[in-house]
């Protein structure tokens, strides 16, 4: 496993190797240094580190807080870092707030694994507990930003060049087949609840997508940053982004596993508020039957992710404890969500 405490230039010399890489990228700067490199908890599909880049340029000392997102030896989900990087670049400066992505390096020889570097949106919060007190202000922002993603033209953003095309009537099938295959590949024990849901989803396909949009695919609490005033400053973790049915994103955000104990979606909004705000911002309609299909699908996808996390941990590819926790806790919650969506409740 890669070094976690990479600061003070630990055993692998990550700090100095990162500084050498950045010096090549900044030929007009001198005295390029990396200070305070430390790993951030979470982000099981990428190792995430924060650091301060210090340089001397045009007679001035400069510093900038940056983030290193590096592929881990094993990953919760197998994602294309180039797509994630492209999504940050595409949405930067639009109505969808994202940090500036700076460099992508797909050569695994530089820092042991491929990586990219982006600006750090420092001092911000993203947990459900932190979000709840700002619910009134966060709710319209969170769901209207998702509406902006759904409304965005992938071709105008240049994302149709990096994301696989899909026809409006094939979005559901492609996603369902992908995540079913993930369960096939990674399940350590039979999943009778998820399998029943998959059979139902195949027997009751949704209507074609109203439009083929950019789908963030992990739009939830924990993946957006907001300041102490309750203003959302950045949408993060685009690692599963793809083209597809925008209802997929709405449904994922409504997934019961992200709800607070009082049933507020993402711990901040009522279901009706979230849907209404998204509809207004996107110009699309959340047909209840179609949305139900995508909500059940989102629980199958969630279970596929938790099954994969248990597999990665068990195989020793990635022994981040958060993977074990996900396998135990989230897997059970996701089964409950599937049962509820199919009209069967756990007393």
């Amino acid at each position: 496993m890669a070094d976690d405490s990479a600061g003070a230039d630990g055993a692998s010399g990550l700090e100095s190797r990162l500084a050498a890489y950045l010096a090549e990228k900044l030929p007009d700067a001198s005295d390029v240094r990396v200070d305070g490199l430390e790993r951030i908890f979470g982000g099981a599909s990428r190792e995430t580190y924060r650091f301060v880049l210090r340089t001397h340029r045009d007679g001035e000392d400069e510093s900038r807080r940056l983030i290193l997102r590096r592929d881990p030896p094993g990953s919760l989900i197998e994602t294309d870092r180039a797509v994630e990087y492209a999504a940050y670049r595409a949405f930067y400066g639009t109505a969808v707030p994202v940090p500036e992505a700076l460099w992508l390096e797909e050569d695994g020889n530089r820092l042991d694994y491929p990586f990219f570097i982006m600006e750090e949106l420092a001092g911000l919060q993203s947990s459900a507990q932190a979000a709840a007190p700002h619910a009134a202000k966060l709710t319209p922002q969170k769901w209207s930003i998702l509406g902006e993603i759904s409304k965005a033209d992938p071709a105008a953003l240049g994302l149709d060049n990096v994301m696989a095309a899909v026809a409006a009537d094939e979005c559901w099938q492609r996603e369902l087949s992908y995540w079913e295959n993930e369960i096939d590949r990674h399940e350590l024990c039979p999943q009778p609840i998820a399998r029943a849901a998959i059979r139902w989803l195949r027997r009751h396909p949704p209507p074609p997508a109203q439009r083929v949009s950019v789908v963030h695919a992990d739009y939830r609490t924990g993946n957006y940053l907001f300041d102490e005033e309750g203003t959302i400053r950045g949408i993060l973790d685009w690692e599963m982004a793809h083209l597809g049915d925008p209802l997929e994103d709405l449904a994922w955000g409504l997934n019961p596993v992200w709800q607070s104990a009082d049933g507020r979606v993402g711990a901040i909004a009522t279901r009706e508020e979230a849907i209404s705000i998204w509809e207004e911002a996107s110009g699309l309609r959340a047909d209840p039957e179609a949305l139900h299909w995508w909500e059940l699908f989102s629980s199958v996808k969630g279970q596929a992710i938790w099954v994969s996390s248990a597999k990665e941990f068990t195989d020793g590819k990635n022994q981040d404890l958060i993977l074990a926790l996900a396998g135990w806790l989230m897997g059970n919650r996701q089964d409950r969500a599937i049962l509820a969506a199919m009209g069967h409740h756990v007393s």
Binding site: E38, R195, A196
Partner: protein, 154 residues
């Protein structure tokens, strides 16, 4: 074996959360990866304590429930390969009560449950609908058996 495993884990978690986590925070800062990781380890140990207590009991209970269901299911799905395997599974017993052995037999039974469920969905009869409802009740019960209240189960 004394002290009990549960008590040992409680004390271990107390050391981790009460001493180690604050110590890491004082030495390296309160948002470092290592501190969060040790915090998760503490939560996992509490879950291990809960699972240790029930591990054999919940598997024995579930395996018995599934075998009872399989014994009745053969008449609904009719003669054939699935029916024969249901009958064979219904007659089996758990003689090795180690958790790993119980887990293995549980996985076999749950795999067969998937086949039974899929087969029953294709049968148009009142008996099939009754059995389907029974399967869903068992799936809900299996989810309840696996819940981890120490991790904030909702």
């Amino acid at each position: 074996m004394k002290p009990d495993v549960g008590r040992l884990l409680e004390v271990a978690v107390g050391h981790l959360m009460g001493e180690t986590v604050p110590m890491i925070g004082r030495a390296y800062g309160h948002s470092v990866y290592e501190q969060s990781n040790v915090g998760v380890l503490g939560m996992m140990l509490l879950a291990v304590r809960h699972e240790h207590e029930r591990a054999a009991a919940r598997r024995v209970e579930e395996n018995q429930e599934l075998r009872r269901m399989f014994a009745r299911a053969g008449t609904v799905v009719g003669a054939g390969d699935v029916s024969e395997r249901l009958a064979a599974a219904a007659e089996a017993e758990d003689t090795d009560l180690t958790v790993s052995a119980l887990e293995e037999s549980n996985a076999e039974l749950r795999g067969l449950l998937i086949e039974l469920h899929a087969a029953v969905e294709e049968i148009d009869s009142p008996e099939a609908r009754t059995l389907e409802e029974e399967i869903w009740r068992e799936l809900a019960a299996s989810t309840r058996r696996r819940a981890l209240p120490t991790l904030g189960d909702t």
